[in-house]
């Protein structure tokens, strides 16, 4: 670990507000921590508005209202209005439940910039099965409202072995709904997704086929739909540039007020996270020991330390390193150069052979 202060290149661009970890859905790949019940909603409206202001002063331009399900916050309209007054690009990241058209009108009028709606599949029964409750039809309705009300629409579909064969249908649905953006993001195997990895990790053949479909569609839809296809790092042999680097571009605030460098940083041992109720965001960004821990390159082990890609991928994901190897300061095992890369190779090998569907573990609140 190191005690790096932000360098001249480190600049907060995006504030991610996980307003609550509560959610009507129980998705089997939820990226919230598995101990989410330990992080109840502690921040009041005024706390969030102060966090927005402090982030804006630090230079943040993008604001993601996320969760859990941000619509469960009764003060969401007020929060959107506050973000809008600070000229943020305000993105609502939602399951679409629970939402009425009237409330969406209020959110638009409060200054919302854009809405991202998640779908789990293109087949209602499959989407509902992965989400752990009936939700698909309502989500489609919400997506239509978003467009009717003149708001930009992103559809987000998390990909895995049980829906990868329907990428063409996903693209057709995005076209039909008039989406501005389609995010086809392979599951990140952390948190609930790591518990369900055996049932979700696709085979190489599945992935290659889906990627080809997406590539062809991207060309065809150029200028109409921004189509993203995010490969799973399990198949890329180089790690992802997680959060564009630790403490470099992003700051995330959890429902209980912890300022975090990423969605799961508070699952890493040995780090002490500051609460926005006790310290200003600027103080945290500049001086928090947790932000300093993996900032820059001083903390890096070999092979990262001497790797020419260290400023490209920053050694990968700290949470993946910890949850797979037990050491948060290890090279991300997704990297082919990691001494623990075998962990990934074995998971991949199992995914080529697995024929019997495994049972899924649904996200739940365990107290």
């Amino acid at each position: 670990m190191s005690d790096a202060r932000p360098s001249d290149e480190d600049r907060l661009y995006t504030l991610i507000d996980e307003l609550t970890y509560l959610c009507p859905l129980r998705c089997v790949y939820c990226s919230n921590p598995t101990d989410l019940a330990a992080h109840p909603d502690r921040l009041q409206t005024a706390d969030w508005l102060r966090v927005f202001r402090e982030a804006s002063e630090l230079g943040a331009l993008q604001l993601n209202l996320s969760g859990g399900e941000p619509l469960l916050r009764k003060d969401l309209e007020e929060l959107v209005e506050g973000a809008s007054a600070l000229d943020f690009y305000t993105n609502l990241i939602t399951s679409g439940l629970p939402l009425t058209r009237e409330r969406l009108v209020r959110l638009r009028d409060a200054g919302l910039s854009s809405v991202q709606v998640s779908l789990q599949d293109t087949i209602a029964s499959e989407s509902d099965r992965i989400a752990g409750r009936e939700s698909f039809q309502h989500k489609l309705e919400v997506a239509r409202w978003v467009k009717e009300l003149g708001l930009p629409l992103t559809l987000n579909i998390v990909l895995h072995r049980q829906n990868l064969s329907r990428v063409a249908e996903m693209i057709a649905l995005a076209e039909q709904l008039g989406a501005d953006r389609l995010e086809l993001a392979n599951t990140q195997y952390l948190a609930w997704a790591l518990l369900n990895r055996g049932a979700l990790l696709p085979s190489q053949a599945q992935l290659d086929e889906a990627r080809e479909v997406a590539r062809a569609a991207r060309e065809r839809l150029k200028g109409k739909i921004e189509l993203l296809f995010v490969l799973p790092d399990y198949y890329s042999d180089r790690p992802k540039a997680c959060m564009s680097g630790w403490g470099k571009r992003y700051l995330l605030v959890s429902p209980d007020g912890l300022a975090l460098p990423c969605h799961l940083a508070h699952t890493l041992p040995g780090l002490s996270f500051d609460n926005v109720q006790q310290r200003s965001l600027s103080d945290i960004w500049q001086h928090s020991s947790a932000f300093a821990a993996f900032r820059g390159e001083a903390w890096m082990p070999e092979p990262c330390q001497s790797c020419e890609r260290r400023a490209i991928d920053f050694g990968g994901c700290r949470c993946q390193a910890f949850h797979l190897t037990g050491d948060a300061a290890a090279t991300d095992p997704a990297c082919g150069l990691s001494p623990k890369h075998d962990l990934i190779v074995q998971a991949r090998a199992a995914a080529q052979e697995q024929l019997i569907p495994l049972s899924l573990r649904y996200r739940e609140i365990r107290r």
Binding site: R11, G59, L61, P152, R181, G223
Partner: protein, 96 residues
């Protein structure tokens, strides 16, 4: 999208998903869209401020040639290439 050259009669307009604003940290304009932002040089910013859907590309080129006191042909090449790039990325839309 065709590969034909852009018609100068098109009226380019920023896509609804974008937001053009000044970045106080750099003093430059930035075009924000979901999850991303495009930091603009002064020429790019000047072009996009005129992409309101009310003016044709020809009019925009004429305005900028005056503003930058530059040769129209040079400005035209620059504006067309820039707008085409943003059209391809869905950040600008154009109605004939």
């Amino acid at each position: 999208m065709s590969d034909e050259p852009l018609s100068l009669e098109l009226k380019p307009k920023l896509a609804p998903k974008t937001k053009l604003r000044l970045d106080p940290k750099t003093g430059k304009y930035i075009l924000l869209y979901p999850e991303k932002g495009l930091l603009l040089n002064p020429t790019g910013a000047a072009i996009l401020k005129l992409c309101t859907g009310e003016q044709t590309l020809s009019a925009i080129i004429a305005t900028l040639s005056l503003e930058f006191q530059s040769d129209t042909e040079k400005v035209q090449a620059e504006v067309v290439a820039f707008v085409q790039g943003l059209l391809d990325r869905g950040l600008v839309q154009a109605e004939p």
